[in-house]
């Protein structure tokens, strides 16, 4: 019989765990905690690759201002935070701009072409300003790190994209982009001079909209990029293979609220359709389980119905003012009723998700926010405890 599915088992068996899900659900924290769980329960070398961590978390992981370097959180720091490390915990952040520059330099046919691309204002705009460029480069960097063979497990916090699945399609889109007829069509006449280009109907319209100079800039940019065609396409394919490799598993992170859950369910469907393996669904920041119990609402009614007696008993036993006790208990009862409504909604949502996923792990919201190693360690404990 195989061991029951658990996060603990995932960090023991997988080589890559991709934490994905809608924005604002705590993906980075869950990724860091999963890596922490791995480093404290397995003897391996673990790397967590984050994309855009909150500053406090980046500080906690020692990532502030380190660019593309990989840093190790040393054992002394882990022990000081209360952990008993079995393996090594390393962290890295994605520096999109620098990763793109590295990529261009690696694939350009010669230094002059690389320089021409790096200096192109369009290139600088795309890589520097536009978040979409996170998508491909994050997967490319993952491929590179995995390829070094230095890590037993890499946990990836996927980029915050407008469409949360964009990063999955990024390698395919990149390949499509470079092999498209449109690109060849746009570039072909440019080789014979811009005048040939101007004769085409599209460019006639585009010329009226955008102006010839701009079209020339764009064409030159594509022409330079096109010289890297082979290398790019090959890499994009390798990255795509890595995502569907059996050593790779996805962890879908969401909070038990309607909108994030809808996105998470959409995610599960899409991952399934692409035949990617979903290791677990993590429902982060859930309310305490006691709130969802049917007894809670009945208890609130019982409390409200016999308020005077409860208040009197409390006042007498604790030496408090009876009116104060009554006010406090009335407030507590009505807050309990309000929150139990929310908690029941969450519980129903959890059941719905559980129908589509092999493993659903609920992580209760902690009293504070997770912004230090202690907090990450606490969450690692929650993730690692049997469901």
């Amino acid at each position: 019989m195989t061991a029951p599915a658990s996060i603990r088992r995932l960090v023991e068996t997988e080589e890559i765990l991709l934490c994905c899900g809608p924005g604002g659900v705590g993906k980075t924290t869950i990724a860091a905690s999963t890596a922490m769980l791995a480093a404290t329960t397995t003897p391996g070398r673990v790397l967590v690759l984050t994309i855009d961590p909150a500053r406090r978390l980046a500080d906690a992981l020692g990532l502030e201002g380190i660019g593309n370097e990989v840093v190790r959180i040393d054992d002394a720091t882990l022990v000081a935070a209360g952990a008993s490390p079995r393996g090594e915990l390393h962290c890295a952040m994605l520096d999109t701009k620098r990763s793109w520059d590295d990529l261009i330099e690696r694939h350009a046919p010669d230094a002059a072409t690389a320089q021409r691309i790096l200096a192109n204002p369009l290139y600088q705009n795309i890589t520097g300003r536009f978040v979409q460029s996170h998508d491909y480069i994050a997967m490319e960097r993952l491929h590179e790190l995995h390829g070094t063979g230095e890590w037993d497990l890499i946990v990836v916090d996927t980029p915050p994209t407008r469409n949360a699945l964009d990063f999955l399609d990024a390698p395919a889109r990149m390949e499509e982009f470079f092999s498209s007829r449109l690109l060849r069509w746009l570039i072909a006449p440019a080789r014979g001079g811009i005048l040939g280009l101007a004769a085409r109907p599209f460019t006639q319209i585009a010329d009226r909209i955008l102006g010839t100079q701009f079209l020339e800039d764009i064409t030159e940019f594509f022409l330079s990029l096109h010289s890297m065609y082979g290398g790019f396409v090959e890499r994009a394919r390798a990255v795509a293979r890595l995502l569907s490799d059996e050593r790779t598993s996805f962890v879908v992170v969401a909070t038990p609220e309607p909108s994030p859950l809808r996105e998470a369910e959409f995610f599960l469907t899409e991952l399934g359709r692409r035949q990617y393996e979903v290791g677990a669904v993590v429902l982060n920041r859930a309310l305490p389980a006691s709130l969802a119990e049917p007894a809670t609402e009945a208890a609130a009614d019982a409390l409200a119905g016999d308020m005077a007696a409860f208040a009197k008993a409390s006042a007498t036993e604790l030496g408090l003012d009876e009116a104060t006790c009554e006010r406090v208990l009335r407030t507590a009862a009505s807050s309990g009723r309000a929150w139990s409504v929310v908690a029941r909604r969450e519980a129903a949502a959890r059941e719905r998700v559980a129908r589509d996923a092999r493993l659903v792990v609920t992580v209760p919201s902690l009293d504070g926010e997770v912004g230090d190693l202690e907090g990450i360690l606490t969450l690692a404990g929650v993730l690692g405890s049997p469901a």
Binding site: F222, S314, L318
Partner: protein, 310 residues
Amino acid sequence: MTGLLDRRLLFVTGKGGVGKTTIAAGLAALLASQGRRVLACEVDAKGDLAAAFELGTVGFDPVEVPGGPWVMSMDTEASLREYLRLHLHVPVVGRIGPLAAAFDFVAAAAPGVREILTVGKLCYEVRADRYDAIVVDAVATGHILGHLAAPQAINDLVKVGLIRSQTDWMLEILTDPTTTGVVVVATPEEMPVTEAIELVGAIRDETRVDVASVVVNRTLPELFGVRDEVAFGAIAAARPGALCERRFDGIFDAARHATARRRLAAEHVARLRASVPDAVPIVLQPYLFTRTEGRRATHQVATSLAGELA
């Protein structure tokens, strides 16, 4: 300063998951309830804005909500088609698929080109004067600068041509604080507040668009006053008499949870107040315990916004 509700064009943005759509829908519903003709436009085509008004799929052509705003969903291809028809007198019969694909292709490399189709359409609606107010359920924090700065980016990159000649009047609309405003939505948590603070700064530094307000969504009411909280702590610790029964666990857990969350939230709101210029009003929106979606929720948000913005 022109009040939030007196502007013609409002971009509602914020970190993913903070309830941008809910706030945008609430604002549109509120403006409509004041008798104004309102266009509510969803930019990311997820359908959440239409859902806030319980409409089915909504496209580029606005659909009227009875007693509410007109709702549309941005579609850059349709916007391109409209643009070509209006400005180039290009006969756009039937499909413009190949042209749109080519345009997409150029847009992939040229920052601002795709964005200008969105921003341009919205500015065009301001100029066309068919609506009293336009509320945009805009893209999230990471993308909004690209949208707001698109006309300027095009201005910088494209030296001649029709698009260039169009950016001046767009910039005029966008940078007029009596016409246009950005509403930054956050929740009282670390990352959303940090992103809101950074975004307010970036909008002021990188565009000349005015920030009309920061809305802090899902703020919890204060459960206990200071003295009552002490009393609650004592009762929760001792659980005297029948209160020690397990069935009361949920009630004490809920109050503890609400108090802890509220305390944390108050710290983040204080940080927001300290970091955002005084000229930017901060509007608090309550947490909705019951229905969090649909027309009923939208109505609740509109009502509480009316109270806050009055």
